[in-house]
Symmetry: D2
């Protein structure tokens, strides 16, 4: 099952079974899951810790494989948190993207990486 | 579009457009995206920083809304990294889950939260 | 040399030599060091990931030893960042503490863990 | 009081008073403090999120001021954790540095940023 066919629901169900079969819901409190996502994010970062941003664009297949697994762990804990809190992930993600589109109007931010507060300040200065 | 219907591909395409329209691919290097995921994970943790694990189970609707948005940011950057590295996220997540199923056999780990190295050690001691 | 006698300067010098002798200044850019601190912080968190806040108060000697080492890594990278940016750490830390004392007046926050924005809001509502 | 004169003990005592006066020991469990360090580390990273490693070497005074404050927060929570666990920080840091010196012999690692497992593997291949 690949990205063309897998729905968020499919993946959530798989993760929910994995956790339930191990009786791990008790450990998957929101607090613990937020730590788990941060821990996996750090393991992902470890692959890039001493690389320049430029070097991080040129990864060998072995590194890419490991990086994919770290990313998977982040997604798995994110799915478990969505399960635990009964959040619809697609709706929430699309709503957040719509909010980001308003916060960062494309004409204004094109090719720039400032934070949105920077743009609001400029707006205010006009 | 909700979790029942949204495929990973749908969300990836939306995120790819968002990034492309802002000419932000140049900032979305793997190194920078790994930092971004970790930063958003920390913003998620901030909601639980001073709560007990027990308290983190009882969130009011306002907190839940904010937590959903932080989780969305983590997912958005994860989608962007998958786009950037051309990783099929569903395949990678399912493969990692299969690996975790072997690493943590359900009969052995039920209701326990030790790391898998602990189980291998026990195995070795038999 | 223990906490009674070691100055920040002593520790900074030791770390500076360690880095210089390995010709590692080139890797210790502020960006990389900020990632390194975050990575070590995550390794510290890993020890507490599945514990309740209460359980984290009762650590066995072996865990305590490992936790001390993770904390040391955080401090080491912090010293290196201070070296790299030529920040006086004691002055900066004491200035930040003075700022925190104003932000969180002790009469007002005693026994409470809300963020300071919460206190400002209350103040505004009076 | 600057790095030339401030001992770790001086700073620890100041932080201990700050926490005690607010009756915040109850929140400063090892688990919560590990999250707090990680959260502050992420706030530090935020300053470098979209910069190249090279750009992160050239910070303007305003950025440097803010970065110093984030670093201070990391140190403050580290001091509080040392207080809470009664760890001598200078001893632990110096012991860890001695361990790192053995793990990364300077003749072998000069100018290279590989992880120490890489060096052990090479050693084994001889």
């Amino acid at each position: 099952m690949n990205d063309q066919h897998a729905t968020l629901h499919d993946l959530r169900e798989r993760m929910a079974s994995f956790v339930r079969e191990r009786d791990w819901e008790q450990f998957h409190s929101p607090k613990n899951l937020s730590m788990s996502i941060a821990i996996e994010a750090a393991e992902l970062m470890e692959h890039f810790q001493w690389l320049t941003t430029e070097q991080s664009e040129h990864l060998d297949p072995a590194a890419l494989q490991e990086i994919g697994e770290e990313l998977a762990d982040i997604v798995l804990y994110s799915l478990s948190l969505a399960n635990h809190l009964q959040i619809d992930l697609a709706e929430t993600v699309l709503a957040k993207m719509a909010k980001n589109e308003r916060k960062y109007p494309k004409e204004q931010v094109r090719g720039k990486a400032h934070k949105y507060t920077y743009y609001r300040k400029q707006e205010g200065e006009k």
